[in-house]
């Protein structure tokens, strides 16, 4: 994988943690807070572990605890992807 996109993240979130009907993931969520999207810390731990399996980039538990928006998570993962290349 050359780039981890917002659509990749949406797919992973839906698969491993479900989707909050009241908010949804369809719109522009890049700068929405994970909390406001309905995801708690456990949902993000689960997401980090799926990202590691699919993308081959490890996000540490303490790092995922600091991430608050999808954009921050994409930046973190894509930064590592670049380093790998």
């Amino acid at each position: 994988m050359s780039e981890f996109t917002i659509d990749d993240l949406k797919r992973i979130l839906r698969a491993c943690a479900g989707e909050d009907e009241a908010v949804g993931l369809d719109g522009d969520i890049l700068d929405s807070g994970f909390e406001e999207l309905g995801y708690d810390s456990l949902a993000l731990l689960e997401t980090a572990s799926r990202i590691e399996h699919e993308v081959g980039v490890a996000v540490l538990d303490e790092e995922i605890g600091e991430v608050t928006t999808p954009r921050q998570l994409l930046d973190l993962v894509n930064g590592r992807l670049v380093q790998k290349v």
Binding site: A17, G18, E19, D20, G38, L42, A43, S49
Partner: protein
Amino acid sequence: MSAVVTGIGVLAPNGLGTEEFWSRTLDGVSGIGPITRFDASRYPVRFAGEVPGFTARDHLPGRLVPQTDRMTQLALTAADWALLDAAADPGDFGEYDMGVATAASAGGFEFGQKELQNLWRLGPRHVSAYQSFAWFYAVNAGQISIRNGLRGPMNINVAEQAGGLDAVAQARRMVRGDTPLVVTGAVDASLCPWGLVAQLPNGRLSTGDDPRTAYQPFAAGARGHLPGEGGAILVVEDAESARRRGAPHLYGEVAGYCSTFDPAPRTGRPPRLAAALRGALADAGIDAVDVDVVYADGAGVPELDLAEAEAIAEVFGRNGVPVTAPKSMTGRLNAGGAALDLAAALLSIRDGVIPPTAGVTGPDERYGLDLVTGARHVRVGAALIIARGYGGFNAAMVVRRCPPAAPRPARAAAVIQGEGT
């Protein structure tokens, strides 16, 4: 102070929802069939009572589905239905005025099996973070509490089938204390290879090859029971508080309860089941003649059926009370089964009818049981429910018709009291 049932939510192999379950049960419609949730062709037990047509996504928020085992999805739905039936809006109660007391027998085995397979096949980084609670036996109570904002006391009983009654007894204790409403009962589901294999060693599961005859409690040819999934969640409230808020249904009072424990095998000491029956009657303050129906545990294992029949005869006399075991239509749902029997007993009180032990044409003569094998219409004022859990647990509970509301204190009495102070 009395505890009354004001809401019922049922998910059973022969019906989704209380009324569907009840009408099919009265008609003798069985929910037992071949196991379809996994390939059971290579297992000695191939039939079970599966809850059909339940899709979690139709009933629960998307965020909850990936983090819950099937038993929790069924329990959350049953709790929703029970609260709806009770017309109890958590927003109308104080923050800590609603509690949860449920029972479980295994936990989320299907979820747990999947994650254990991930662990051993792929490694620890592939185990779901939700495994931390999804397979825990206490998870149903926790998820019911979170979903509905029930922040009062919480309690979980584990005593296999008997636990379903123990939990409701605990709910009654909580209601007698300072928790006016408690969501209680039990839902179990472990129809996965691990859940089935875990039950095989006790030798009580039926390996019969005809789903119509494989589980026949109290029948001469009984050869064990079949597993099943589902159960009932109930809303139990303080009677006075339920009346004050105008609860639409007062299904019945949780009037009496007793639990006992059987002596270890080979000690030669007699079983303690009859003592549980007598204890529940004494707790309710009624005599054996006041009981209109007994919902039996109905293990379908000859020596257990005999022990239960002897206990019933000891308390009620031979052929002394109508006995039924509608679980012949669902299989044994473990803790969920006792809660489901309790729900059925309350519906017997409501509708004046005893459901049949469908599929059993007549009990073994030596049991001396008046076994109900076709729906029997009769006024039911009080019912006794028996539940026995593997390992020696016995529980018995009496539910009875709610007495009419107490008259308001007479005006004269209030005046006299006022003069005295």
